[in-house]
Symmetry: C2
Subunit: 413 residues, 2 copies
Amino acid sequence: MKNVKYGKCIRCGKTYEAVPDLTVCECGGILDIIYDYDYIKTRLTKEVLAKRDQRTMWRYRELLPVEESTELPPLRVGWSPLYEEPRLAEQLGLKRLWVKDDGQNPTASLKDRASAMAVAKAREAGAKVIACSSTGNAASSLAGNAAAAGLETYIFVPSRAPKGKVAQLMTFGATVISVQGSYEDTFELSKAAIDRWGWYNRNAAINPYLSEGKKTVALEIMEQLNWEVPDYIAISVGDGCTIAGLWKGLKDLHAIGLIDRLPRLISAQAEGCCPLNRAIETGKPWHPMEENTLADSIAVGVPRNAEKALHAIRESRGLTVNVSDEEIMAAQKLLGKTCGVFGEPAGVTGAAGVKKLCEAGVIGREDTVVSVVTGNGLKDVANAIAACGDPITIPGNMERLLEAFAEKGIAVK
Amino acid sequence: MKNVKYGKCIRCGKTYEAVPDLTVCECGGILDIIYDYDYIKTRLTKEVLAKRDQRTMWRYRELLPVEESTELPPLRVGWSPLYEEPRLAEQLGLKRLWVKDDGQNPTASLKDRASAMAVAKAREAGAKVIACSSTGNAASSLAGNAAAAGLETYIFVPSRAPKGKVAQLMTFGATVISVQGSYEDTFELSKAAIDRWGWYNRNAAINPYLSEGKKTVALEIMEQLNWEVPDYIAISVGDGCTIAGLWKGLKDLHAIGLIDRLPRLISAQAEGCCPLNRAIETGKPWHPMEENTLADSIAVGVPRNAEKALHAIRESRGLTVNVSDEEIMAAQKLLGKTCGVFGEPAGVTGAAGVKKLCEAGVIGREDTVVSVVTGNGLKDVANAIAACGDPITIPGNMERLLEAFAEKGIAVK
């Protein structure tokens, strides 16, 4: 790869050749992929991009750690819509607001970006099997992207994962192991199995290429904004890999001169599980927390990518915000009703955070904000059903309809 | 609209000015929108399209019945991926096979194409409220597209509609009326309410513009195939509007010279509810049927757009195929495992039909086929869960994993 120099440990600084099955440093630290920006600068410009037809995450190939000869995975991942939301901006009291709907990916979450990258690298490694542990979205995205590419998958999920996510990945032909325990237990068993059988590893905090896939969400946001940098980008945070990837993408663009400043990150976590935000807020090292939130995709008590995530939030002079489950479900309805975007609970946690920061007066009239929705609400309808209540239910006649409207106080226009 | 001549009754031939709130003919017949192809031919060419940046259904605006000044609805509808599937083609014994994944739309079904059109026309009509009856997908797509555009919705669903679909549309802020009865009862109540309150009508067999939205799936397929016409296009059929729209799009392209021949349609219905296919197969008028299939989106015993659908199938020298619920669920797993595409039961019924026709030797080695997946599997996980069975469920330790693999006969590579 002419564009990649090496993998570098974020803890001890040791460097490693960027082989396809790169994992962690011998010191246990997570690796970061280091690019040759001088080389990339000569290849990837705004003009080059403007002429490029491809509308997937792979349109930024110069900034991605894949060989030029690597066959790309089949599913159409990335280039999700970025909607400007003037009515919601008005309602929240923001200058401008955009929603990036990453639920519009093949398996309906941002994780497709990482899984597509995993499939590309597994192909480079000559692997036939990929494995991971996941709260759900990484699992189904890996299963889908691997199935499309003809690769086998072994997937470890905590037994609390919503049935819809499990059904989705089983439909993709994955061998699924549901672990009766926490995400931590699930992760450890997957690690042991991967070590034992030598499968290609798609655990996001171990495989340094996955953040590089996720960073494409940042590249797209900036290109879709015509390179005009917003003040803030808000996103939900669980394991820490996604916000780290987001920041990496922004720093890449800054390094090659496609943007002239960096936005501040808004790290949104659930009140019941916010070990990373708590570390930022207290200035102390992070400590494990219970996983008390219905936002299952970010219910991560032991974040595996804490270092990169904390670094990203701090380096961006980021804001932290912790929201209750009620605030999350209110944000789901708000985005649905105002924007026509249906996000899963973890998917709308960033937007819940933006709302809370607006109400607290931390951000407001002078600020421009992008809120990333990381997964589709159809992934977890049980919570949406609970939040919505029941529809008006009647037999098929007009008298009963009029009665029902009257009872509910609906004044029909 | 310079490109539109008028609406014309498909039964009696009477023509109507193409006003935004056009419904049915005074004779009860459904209208068809008639275009000025000579005018359109001078505007829409392959070269013009190749240079066009927009990747939504609206890139074909010259072939769509909207005023040039109409503000388009906000959600990104259309330009869903068309995947070539060489492995599945090989397995089924086809020359070439493509899957058009229309579950990759904002609310996860092809119906977004019709709902986006409804929103555009409602805006032209100056309406603030849109209503419809639906087995589910039209409902949630209308709710989502209308919410994004700031319009109110009243939606009538049969009480058997899957909870996920209902939760989705309630999250979009719709007023939902769940009717204890058949789709027919639901439709009649919605019609009465629309007449009473003068809401904009998004019932597909009444509003002639909706097929025009749906036809964009055909326009995209042909452009994505670089205008090389396949032998067959397969799609599931319920109310009849979708296959009628598909055919309309193909005929449009033929009329303006963008394609030089027409494919044959494959009309796939559920064995337990196939009134349209039965009419074709017996050569007799269609008769209502029970709604005995788990593919809820096509469980339509009284198809509201029978005439247009039957005409489309016949004119294309189309094939009919009726599949059992077991064949539908097998197709869901086949598409998931081989293509990484997760379709809802009705969504994969077209593919189930293709498989059945291949096995019967009706189509084969000489044939090229496009199969349209009309909705995302996440819309109805209950059936997927039932079809998939349970995952391997164990506590988090390696001994139990080895035992479980041994029990299930899984030989790990």
